[in-house]
């Protein structure tokens, strides 16, 4: 099953490589990985999406917790949560395609953030399926380049991941 694990990590050199190393060393999957500092400059927040049986996920969280630089972690998929991913896409846009793409972007609540005579650059945020859906809707033949941020997530309601 797919899981989103959110980690508060000491913001120190080498900490990230320990997390990444753990996944490859123990043969766990990483589907997406995002990391950035938080409002507390001593901490980074890392979000990793992974798949595995319940047993594997349990090991992943336990092994992550064993890393000295991991301060706290939560498996967001255990409760209600919000997940978002940002995507930037360059699309071939000439002639009648231009209006068509514009309509699709509106439907997906994206924005065209850069324009040339033959290319639109589209920005889109949402959960991963929505981003996949957009690519499908515009058709892969018109896609010139895609960059996705990987998933960030946060629990719904009052629950917070903090010290």
């Amino acid at each position: 099953m797919r899981r989103i694990i959110s980690v508060l990590l000491e913001n120190e050199p080498g900490a990230l490589s320990r997390v990444v190393g753990l996944f490859s060393q123990r043969n766990y999957n990483i589907e997406t990985l995002t990391v950035a500092p938080t409002e507390d400059e001593t901490l980074s927040r890392l979000t990793v999406t992974t798949t595995g049986s319940d047993k594997v996920i349990e090991q992943i969280t336990k092994q992550l917790n064993k890393l000295i630089e991991v301060v706290k972690l939560v498996d967001l998929t255990e409760g209600a949560h919000i997940e978002r991913e940002l995507m930037l896409v360059k699309l071939k846009a000439t002639g009648s395609q231009r209006a068509e793409i514009k309509r699709t972007v509106d439907i997906f609540r994206g924005q065209i953030v850069d324009v040339t005579s033959s290319v639109y650059t589209v920005q889109l945020a949402g959960n991963s399926e929505k981003l996949d859906g957009f690519i499908q809707a515009v058709g892969t033949s018109g896609v010139l380049e895609v960059v996705r941020s990987g998933v960030s997530g946060i629990a719904r309601g009052e629950k917070v991941l903090s010290l």
Binding site: G14, S17, G21, E58, Q59, K62, K66, I68, K72
Partner: protein
């Protein structure tokens, strides 16, 4: 205010940490540190002949004393030479701090002379590693390193020290922190009371219980609590290779160690049990055999300080995360106060069954009128040393024979590389033990293959007068490899012969020691007696043992715990 250079701070921190011995080897990036060492006499340095041996020495010391060992090496090749030793300690959860020189911080990343990314290289085999970014941080980093290495589930910690962090004429204020603050590292200090209660209820209700104890009992200094609990309950106990000595082997409740080369009775008892109380062990593949066939009727209580060890390979019904000594103490209280008592009839029937298994096989081997059997060498040593020696070992058949036929009644005396299985461990580990226990008998039971992996340390033994006794069970082969080839490859002995063996007697003499060769069976005991009488000499005893012997019992690959070969021809 006391001003010290980084190098002096490092050595001062070791003093303040109470470190008596460090094992190491100098080189460019560590020279400031070596100079600081020279200018004091509290911390004593042992100069090995290969950095791997320094780590195994620190490891042997740690296993025998329960205290963290310390290693000091230079950058690049000095640091990479420690990796096998660090991985050995990591697999067996041995506390140790490895101080590595590094090129100056201004050169890092430029492929400078003797630059290696030791933080990166060591990462998968350490509990943690730290690098020094400012000389002032050194005392705190040292304190942290020892704290992390020796608390929770212990393990090796590496400190990477760029040369410019130890520059002699740059001085900073020295403050040795009293306490370590680590917001993200808080090992459990007691187990969950509800879970412990549940475990005790299950223990009382069990009809075919078994206690399965591991190295965690020794590391967690919980042998007394374990022994008391086992005696109070009257249940059978088995332990892992790493747990040898956690419960007296000569006691009748002890049914031997378990797993691939464990006793018939312990593997049978595990397989047929209805309750396994696992204390500080980790259900590894050398114990469980095929996990899907593991102990089908057993419920499992698992006590461990490391949550990740629980339900990793075998699911626990009652997981208890906590230090084994504290958890066992609570269990003892509950057992004492419990209104329920063990089911006497069921337990008696269970013991009757176990005694039948024990009588059916037990530990046995065929003797021969003229060839020396490796097992009888170990038995003779056990008798001649009253079972009280420290015994280190290497890896192979000799290791298994040593573990099977030397009966340890005390913890910390059986010292071997169980998790990584590192040939070359035995001699340096014995040296680390002997240095700290000069009045005790220290035996290194080895093979002619393994001993040659760190034989250069005979020179170190000469320098520091370390009169260990090396018992070379010389079968003229990489015996364990050959055994597998006999069993699985129709005796095609691919690269398992040790051709052109040296004359070990002359070799020992060349290093300034005594060499003794034993070829004839009738010489075995008298010569061993002579050897053991040479208290202040290192004696290398080269014993010509049966070249065709196999280690049994041996679990059948991919079988359950009860599927074993008992000899070359008997399979159960």
């Amino acid at each position: 205010m006391e001003l010290l250079s980084g190098a002096d701070m490092l050595i001062r921190s070791l003093q303040d940490e109470g470190i008596e011995y460090i094992y190491g080897y100098p080189g460019g990036a560590a020279l400031h540190i070596y100079d600081a060492l020279f200018r004091q006499d509290k911390v004593k340095h042992i100069l090995v002949r290969h950095e791997q041996a320094a780590v195994h020495m620190a490891d042997g010391y740690a296993r025998a004393t329960g205290l963290p060992g310390t290693v000091l090496v230079t950058s690049g090749p000095g640091a990479t030479n420690t990796i096998t030793g660090i991985a050995t300690a990591f697999m067996d959860s041995i506390p140790m701090v490895v101080l590595c020189g590094q090129v100056a911080s201004t050169l890092i990343g430029e492929d400078a002379f003797q630059e290696t990314d030791m933080i990166g290289v060591s990462r998968p085999v350490v509990k943690h590693n730290l690098s020094v970014r400012h000389p002032e941080e050194i005392p705190e980093i040292v304190r942290k390193a020892y704290y992390i290495a020796s608390t929770g589930r212990p393990g090796p910690v590496v400190i990477d020290i760029p040369k410019d962090m130890t520059t002699p004429n740059e001085r900073y204020e020295y403050i040795f922190p009293k306490k370590v603050k680590l917001r993200s590292y808080n090992p459990a200090i007691r187990g969950h009371a509800g879970q412990i209660k549940k475990a005790v209820d299950m223990l009382m209700a069990a009809k075919r219980p078994i206690i399965y104890a591991g190295g965690g009992v020794i590391l967690g200094k919980a042998t007394d609590q374990l022994t008391e609990l086992v005696r109070m309950l009257g249940y059978p106990i088995t332990n892992t290779l790493m747990g040898i000595g956690c419960y007296p082997a000569s006691d009748k409740q002890h049914i031997g160690w378990l797993g691939m080369h464990g006793t018939y009775e312990s593997n049978m008892a595990m397989h047929h049990s209805d309750l396994i109380l696992c204390v500080g062990a980790r259900f590894d593949d050398r114990v469980t055999n095929a996990t899907e066939k593991f102990c089908p009727g057993a419920r499992i209580v698992h006590i461990d300080i490391d949550p990740a060890s629980i339900s990793k390979t075998i699911d626990a019904d009652v997981p208890i995360v906590g230090p084994v000594d504290a958890v066992l103490k609570e269990m003892l209280t509950l057992v004492r106060e419990s209104k329920e008592k063990p089911d006497a009839d069921a337990i008696a029937a269970w013991w009757k069954q176990i005694e039948e298994w024990r009588a059916f096989h037990g530990m046995r081997y065929e003797t021969s009128p003229d060839v020396i059997k490796p097992q009888e060498v170990v038995e003779a040593l056990w008798r001649l040393t009253n079972g009280e020696a420290f015994v280190t070992s290497d890896v192979g058949q000799h290791q298994m024979f040593a573990a099977q036929y030397y009966k340890f009644d005390k913890p910390n005396r059986w010292i071997n590389s169980g998790g990584l299985g590192t040939m070359g461990f035995g001699l340096p580990a014995a040296m680390g033990v002997k240095l700290s226990f000069p009045d005790d008998e220290v035996l290194c039971i080895t093979g002619e293959g393994s001993i040659q992996m760190n034989i250069q340390e005979l020179s170190t033994c000469n320098q520091y007068n370390l009169p260990v006794k090396i018992i070379n069970l010389n079968n003229q082969a990489l015996g364990m490899v050959k055994q597998w080839q006999d069993m699985n490859y129709e005796s095609r002995h691919s690269q398992s012969y040790m051709e052109s063996l040296p004359d070990f007697v002359k070799l020992a003499e060349a290093y300034g020691h005594v060499g003794v060769r034993i070829d004839r069976k009738e010489d075995l005991v008298p010569k061993l007696k002579e050897v053991l009488a040479m208290k202040d000499k290192l004696v290398f005893v080269d014993i010509n043992v049966d070249r065709f012997e196999h280690v049994y019992p041996m679990q059948v690959a991919r079988g359950s715990m009860k599927d074993m070969w008992l000899s070359k021809t008997e399979r159960v």
